[in-house]
């Protein structure tokens, strides 16, 4: 299985442990990743505020680069990248005149998007392409007695028509199924499909911290040992800003937040170091000893 790999800005910036753990887990699972070198930021919904066509052109450029590599599926590791790319692809495929107009913009680089690209998040690749039964065969350190609260991130779910909710029903339960395939227990809590507050962290910090506080508190109240997210932006807020959210709430929460590949890697016997589990703001120490993850 070979994918055009789109790591996104944040896995190469503020959450390097996501990048490293993805590569480590992909190697173990036999997923071949060829990075799309020079692909631009998707725009994360922010650039789209400066004009939809700008964002769609940047994403069409990425799709064209993946096509030039001879590949048809782009793998993402970020809910936001996934959502923004899926939406762009939907618009490009729906209107051939629009696609032709955008291809004109790509001509100076000798690129053309022909519309053959499918974009799949790592979580979708695990369930839809590798399969949970196969994933189970890689589990050497089952996460028994571990209670994990899934937190999806908005853009891997919504808008549901662009994110394949009809063609692939159940994508809003994939994290639970992955957790169970790793022998863990998926914890249900209010907020699993909600917003982490990251997009307004710099704009309205109070509201953003209230969201972080509520979600981590509710996951803890539901008995979770950790939360897992397929989105590095959610991770930046839920992990990185948790101390601030705790202060605002006046409550110690201490909820470890895992990237999805880290959780998978833990069950596959990878080490703390390989998965970058020492690079979190909220300590993962107790969690790792409970899950018997080697240093």
């Amino acid at each position: 299985m070979k994918y055009a790999f789109y790591p996104g800005c944040v896995s190469r910036g503020g959450t390097p442990e996501l990048y490293d753990s993805t590569i480590a887990v992909a190697n173990k699972l036999g997923i071949e990743l060829e990075e799309i070198v020079g692909a631009a930021c998707t725009g994360a919904g922010v650039l789209q505020e400066k004009g939809l066509k700008l964002g769609d052109t940047l994403n069409a450029r990425t799709f064209a680069m993946a096509e030039r590599m001879g590949l048809t599926t782009i793998m993402t590791i970020c809910s936001t990248c996934q959502g923004v790319m899926s939406q762009a692809n939907k618009r490009l495929l729906a209107d051939s005149d629009y696609l032709a107009e955008i291809n004109e913009e790509l001509k100076p680089e000798g690129l053309e998007y022909t519309g053959r690209i499918v974009i799949k998040h790592f979580a979708w690749v695990l369930v839809e392409e590798i399969g949970l039964d196969t994933l189970k065969t890689f589990v050497t350190n089952p996460l028994e007695d571990m209670k994990i609260a899934p937190f999806y991130g908005c853009y891997i779910l919504r808008p549901s028509d662009a994110l394949g909710a009809d063609e692939n029903p159940g994508r809003n339960e994939y994290l639970e199924r992955i957790i169970e395939a790793l022998s863990g227990e998926a914890v249900n809590f209010p907020g699993r499909l909600q917003c982490c507050g990251f997009p307004i962290m710099l704009i309205n910090e109070k509201n953003s911290m209230e969201m972080v506080g509520r979600h981590t508190h509710n996951a803890k109240a539901a008995g979770a040992d950790a939360m897992v997210t397929p989105c590095p932006l959610c991770h930046l807020n839920l992990d990185g800003q948790q101390p601030k959210a705790q202060a605002q709430r006046g409550e110690k929460i201490g909820m470890p937040i895992l990237h999805l590949p880290q959780l998978v890697g833990m069950a596959m016997g990878l080490t703390q170091k390989e998965l970058g589990l020492g690079r979190h703001i909220v300590s993962t120490k107790n969690l790792l000893s409970k899950a018997s993850v080697r240093a």
Binding site: G13, K50, C154, C195, P199, R279
Partner: protein, 318 residues
């Protein structure tokens, strides 16, 4: 088909007891909606069940409730869709608004937000002899927000209203766009200034909840993005929200990808010492874990192809 409902009940006269769930099991025709089922319960089984409805054809917007946690018009939701194999369907009142009784919420909150954006035309200049005329083309982009039936589903689903009741919210902001973008309105600038203020257009998290639940395709969040675009086009760029967009665009146009530390610094304001000091601890924590991208600002490296990305920005960035 067999209908299995679990309905959240609340009686204000027994408010100290809080709400509770009540189950109803009944046989209904296959084509029944959730509303048809609730009405059958009320008529044949339990006349004390309170709910609000009128047209039963998704025109009036009266019957929004949450079905299995999702804000929906129950007259538009077939029972067979949400319970294909007889699963129990959880029906509750909408979120973010005060419950009056059972499935009926107090509409004051919703209307208060809509009134706050002054949802009526405020033309300038002399009154014309006939009606105020606008060209067809200039009104086309208003068709979507004009489709709003004021059901409040988006207000129920809004993740910001859940933590901050001061936020104007999706319905009111979509309505605000409808007047901001109306060529006949004479107070566009004042309206944009108000929307640029606290609790306005910049407080939306862009979570898409409102887009997903809207039964009329109004896509309130996208209208909020339209407002942001108009705010920036009008030159109101000295707010954290606008600086966030500008900084984001500047770094991606330069390097091809995001410069996270600069995005934070620019959004707070480069001379905002209080914010910068307030976040020194976060900077220190991330630095200690080897997570602070140090190649930032003037050291932000261009990735391969960054010049081509810059050219696209030059051509298409507004």
């Amino acid at each position: 088909m067999q209908a299995n409902l679990q309905v959240r009940r609340y009686d204000p006269e027994l408010s100290e007891q809080g709400s509770h769930l009540q189950e109803y099991h009944l046989e209904v025709p296959d084509h029944f909606t959730v509303l048809d089922t609730l009405m059958k319960v009320r008529e044949e089984d339990d006349p004390s069940l309170a709910l609000r409805c009128s047209c039963r054809a998704s025109i009036c917007g009266s019957c929004a409730m949450t079905v299995n946690g999702r804000a929906s018009l129950v007259c538009k939701t077939r029972l067979s869709e949400v319970s294909p194999n007889g699963e129990t369907v959880l029906v509750e009142p909408m979120n973010n608004q005060r419950v009056v009784k059972d499935l009926v919420i107090d509409l004051q909150f919703f209307w208060g937000k809509v009134r706050a954006v002054e949802p009526y035309l405020k033309p300038r200049g002399e009154e014309p002899e006939g009606e105020y005329i606008a060209s067809n083309e200039s009104m086309l982009n208003l068709l979507t927000p004009m489709g709003c039936i004021m059901c409040g589903a988006c207000v129920s689903a809004c993740t910001v209203l859940e933590v901050d009741k001061n936020f104007l919210g999706p319905a009111a902001l979509a309505k605000a766009y409808r007047f901001v973008a109306d060529p006949r309105d004479g107070e566009t600038q004042q309206r944009l200034e108000a929307l640029n203020d606290e609790s306005g257009a910049w407080d939306c998290t862009r979570c898409y909840m409102c887009v997903d639940v809207c039964p009329k395709g109004v896509a309130p969040m996208e209208r909020i993005m339209d407002i942001r675009e108009l705010i920036m086009e009008a030159g109101m760029t000295n707010t954290p929200g606008a600086r966030h967009v500008e900084s984001f665009a500047r770094t991606v146009a330069h390097s091809g990808r995001l410069d996270e530390p600069m995005l934070a610094i620019d959004t707070w304001g480069r001379t905002n010492v209080v914010k910068l000091m307030g976040n020194a601890m976060l900077g220190f924590r991330t630095l200690r874990r080897g997570k602070l991208p140090l190649r930032s600002g003037p050291f932000h490296q261009k990735q391969p192809g960054a010049d081509a990305v810059g050219r696209i920005f030059k051509r298409l960035s507004k």
